[in-house]
Amino acid sequence: MSFTFTEDQKLLSESADRFVLDDYNFETRRKIIGQDGGFDRDNWEKFAELGWLALPIAEEYGGLGGSTVDTAVLLESFGRGLVVEPYQSCIVLSAGLLQVAGNEEQKRQHLPSIAEGKTLLSFAHIEPTSRFNLCHIRTTATKQGDCFVVDGEKAIVHNAETADYFILSTRTEGDINDENGITLFLVPSNSSGIEMRSYPTIDGLRASEISFNSVKVDKQNVLGELNKAAESIQQVVDRACVLLCAEAAGAMDTAVKLTVDYIKNREQFGQAIGSFQVLQHRAVEMLGAKDFSRALTYRAAGAIDQSNASERMRAVSAAKVEMGRSGKLIGQEGIQLHGGMGMTDDMPIGHFFKRLTMIDAIFGNVDFHRKRFAQII
C-alpha cells in the first residue's frame, strides 16, 4: 500500500484543482445549480475530453482502467469546489454496476458511450422506507413472457431527470429485507409507466422520487444474474462510499481554509479574532479532523480493490465513520467561527457544511457504519 501519489495522480490532481479554481468558483456553481437539470452539460463534455469520465472504466470498454485511488484523487478535487455534475450517480454508481454486473454485450453497448459523455445513467435503488439497508427492496419485477413487469417506488434518486437509463434494483424473490432475490435491470428512462417527481436537495444537487407502474422491461435488460445482485450492489456502493469520503476530504480542506482565512481577517476588539487562542485551537481541531479523515479515506481506497468482502466493509465503514464525524465537526465549527456571517447563504462555508452533512446521510451515516464495523470484528 502506497501513501504517496504517483506522478499520474499528481498530474490528475493538479489539473482537476485547476478546473475547480478557474471554472468553478462559488458564483459559477450557483448559476449551474439554477440551470435546468442542475448541472452544466458543457462541463460534462469537458470531463469526457479530459478523460475523467473514462477514468474508472476498463480499457477494453473505452476507459482508462484507473484504480479507486485514482478516482479518489479526482473526487477530492471536485470536493474542493463542491462540483455538482453527476459523477457519483452516473460514473461511480451506475457505470460501476454495469462494469461489475453487466454482460459483455451490455458493457460494449453502454460503457464507451458513458465514457464519451454521451449517455447518462442514474442508480434507482433507495426506497422510501429502506433507510440505509441496501437489501430493503419492495419494488417488484414479475416475469411475463419475454419481459419483466416492474412496480414500486424509488426515493432520492440523484440526477434521475437527466438520465437516459436507470440501473434499477428490484425484488424478484424473497422477503423485503432478504439478500437473496434482488435483481438489477437496465431501464430506458422513457419507458412507459415511469412517473417522476424531481426536486432540489439541500446540498445543491437534484434528485427524484420515481414510481414504476407496470413498467415493461425486456429480459435482455437484466443486469447480471437473476436474484443475485446484492453482492454487486454492496461492492459498488462500498466503493461509492469511499469516493464520497474523498469528495468530503476536498470539501473539508476548503472549509478549513475558508474558516482559517476568515478568522485571520475578521477583527473584533481591535484584533483579528484568530489571535484568540480558543479559536486557534478550534481551527487546529478542524485541521486535524480533515487530516485523519483524508488519511483513512486513501487507505480504504487503496485497500478496496484488493480486499475480500469483510476486509473491504471494515475499511469502508471506518472511513465513512471518520468522515461523518470530521465533516460534522468541521461544518459546525466552520459556521461558529464565522459568527453571523457563517449563517448567510452568500458565504461559501454554509454550502460546504450542507454537502458534508448530506454525505454523512447517504449510504449509511456514522451510526450505521459504526455498527457495521463492530459486527465484523
Partner: protein, 423 residues
C-alpha cells in the same frame, strides 16, 4: 433523606428542589395547587391553539406575523402576557415554579413562542430606566402586542465587540439625526419599532458614548433589507439608517448610559433563551419520529445506540432545567441573575442543537430533499417522504445560529471566566 440533605446543602434554597418521579423522569413533582395550575394552563393552550398553528410551531414551519399576534392577544386577554413583569405593570405574580410550568405547557401545546423583543427585552429596560411617559405609552402597548419590536444592536463591524458600534446619533434641537447600519436584525421586516444602540460620543471609554434609542421604523431613511440564511429563510435583515429623525423623548434614560441599560437587558433574557419547555416538546417529537422510522425491520427508537443518544440529551436537559429553576427562585428572592446565568445560554443552545442533530439523523435519507416553499403557508402539495421530514434539515442548519446570537457561546464563556473565575 440523606440525599435530600446533601442536595439542600449543596444547592441552598429548597424551593426549586423537587425530586423527579422515577417513571417519568422528565416530569417535575408538583404540589396539588401546581397541578391545578398546570391543568388550567394546559386547557387554555388547548382551547386557543388551532391544529394548524400547533403543527407549524412543532415542525418549525414558518409562523406568520398574525400567528404570533393572535396568540399574544389571547394571552393578554387572559392576563398572562407578561409573567416576568412586576404585578403593578401587568405581571402575574406567579412563583418560579408556576412560570416554569407555564412555559412548559405553552411549548407542549404548540403555542408559538412569544416574541421576546418587546415583552422580555425592551420592557424591563423601560421599566427600570424609562421616563414616566415612556412607561405609560409603551408598556400597555407591549402587553397588547400593538407594536412589533426589533433589536438594533449588532453592526457589520460590531458583533461580539458590541461596544465598538458606530451608528451615529447627533443631537439637533429636540431630536437626534441617526446614520449608520444595523445588521442581523431579527424579524425587522415585521417591526414598527426598534430599540437601538447608537454612538452619541467618541470621547472617553467606548462604552461610555452609547445611548439607547427607540426608533420608529415607518419613516423615511429606514430601509430594511432581508438577508438569506443557509436554510433558505429570511428572518434576519440589514437595517440602513439614513438621516433618521428620532425625538429626544425617545431616548431611554440618560445620554451615553445606553451600555449599562443594554447589559441590564442581557441579564434578563438568559432564562428564556434556555427554552427548556421547547426542548422537552422537541424531544417528544423526536421520539415520535424515531418510532415511525423503520430501521432494520423494527422502529429506530428500538435501536440501543440511538436511544442512548436521546438519553444523553435528556440528562443534559434535566440538569439545565434544574439550574433554570434555581436561577428563577434566586430571582424571586430578589437576587438578580448572576454571571452563572451565562451557563443557561450555553447549555440551553447546546441541548437545542443536539436535538436538531438527532432529528436529522432520525429521518435518514429524507434529509436530502429541500423544498423551501413546503414550509410556507398555503403549500398543499404532497410532501416528499414523510410529512414530518421536510423541515428537519433546514431547521438543523438554521439552529446553528443559537450558539452565535444573544452573545456567542464563546463570549458567554469569556464572561464566566472573567466574572466568576476571576481571570
Amino acid at each position: 433523606m440523606w440525599l435530600q440533605c446533601v442536595l439542600v446543602a449543596v444547592w441552598g434554597s429548597p424551593d426549586y428542589l423537587r425530586l423527579f418521579k422515577e417513571s417519568e423522569v422528565m416530569d417535575l413533582i408538583l404540589t396539588p395547587e401546581e397541578e391545578k395550575f398546570r391543568d388550567e394552563v394546559r386547557a387554555f393552550v388547548a382551547e386557543n391553539i388551532t391544529e394548524d398553528i400547533r403543527k407549524k410551531t412543532m415542525t418549525g414551519f414558518r409562523l406568520d406575523k398574525v400567528d404570533h399576534e393572535s396568540w399574544q392577544k389571547k394571552l393578554y386577554e387572559k392576563g398572562w402576557m407578561a409573567p416576568g413583569w412586576p404585578v403593578e405593570y401587568g405581571g402575574t405574580g406567579w412563583s418560579p415554579m408556576q412560570k416554569h410550568i407555564f412555559e412548559e405547557e405553552c411549548a407542549a401545546g404548540g403555542a408559538p413562542p412569544v416574541i421576546a423583543f418587546g415583552v422580555t427585552m425592551v420592557a424591563p429596560v423601560i421599566m427600570a430606566f424609562g421616563s414616566d411617559e415612556q412607561k405609560e405609552y409603551y408598556l400597555p402597548r407591549i402587553l397588547k402586542s400593538e407594536d412589533w419590536w426589533c433589536q438594533g444592536y449588532s453592526e457589520p463591524g460590531s458583533g461580539s465587540d458590541l461596544a465598538s458600534l458606530r451608528t451615529k446619533a447627533v443631537l439637533n434641537g429636540d431630536h437626534y439625526i441617526v446614520n449608520g447600519q444595523k445588521t442581523w436584525t431579527s424579524l425587522a421586516q415585521h417591526a414598527n419599532l426598534m430599540f437601538c444602540l447608537v454612538r452619541t460620543s467618541d470621547e472617553g471609554k467606548r462604552q461610555e458614548g452609547i445611548s439607547f434609542l427607540l426608533v420608529d421604523m415607518n419613516q423615511p431613511g429606514v430601509t430594511v433589507q432581508p438577508i438569506k440564511t443557509i436554510d433558505g429563510s429570511t428572518e434576519v435583515n440589514n437595517v440602513f439608517l439614513e438621516d433618521v429623525k428620532v425625538p429626544v423623548d425617545n431616548r431611554v434614560g440618560e445620554e451615553n448610559k445606553g451600555w449599562t441599560y443594554a447589559k441590564y437587558l442581557l441579564g434578563h433574557e438568559r432564562t428564556s433563551i434556555a427554552a427548556v419547555g421547547r426542548s422537552k416538546a422537541q424531544i417528544k417529537r423526536l421520539k415520535t419520529i424515531a418510532s415511525a422510522e423503520e430501521h432494520n425491520g423494527t422502529a429506530l427508537i428500538n435501536d440501543q445506540a440511538f436511544r442512548e443518544k436521546i438519553a444523553d440529551i435528556e440528562i443534559d436537559l434535566l440538569a439545565l432545567e434544574s439550574l433554570v429553576l434555581r436561577v428563577l427562585s434566586d430571582e424571586s428572592a430578589g437576587k438578580g441573575p448572576g454571571p452563572e446565568a451565562s451557563f443557561l445560554k450555553i447549555k440551553g443552545t447546546e441541548v437545542q442543537q443536539g436535538i436538531t442533530e438527532l432529528l436529522i439523523e432520525a429521518i435518514g435519507n429524507y434529509a436530502h430533499p429541500f423544498i423551501p416553499e413546503s414550509m410556507d403557508k398555503g403549500w398543499n402539495e404532497e410532501p416528499i417522504g414523510p410529512e414530518y421530514a421536510s423541515s428537519i434539515a433546514p431547521h438543523y442548519f438554521n439552529w446553528r445560529k443559537a450558539s452565535i446570537y444573544g452573545g456567542s457561546n464563546e463570549i458567554q464563556k469569556n464572561i464566566i471566566a472573567k466574572a466568576v473565575l476571576g481571570f
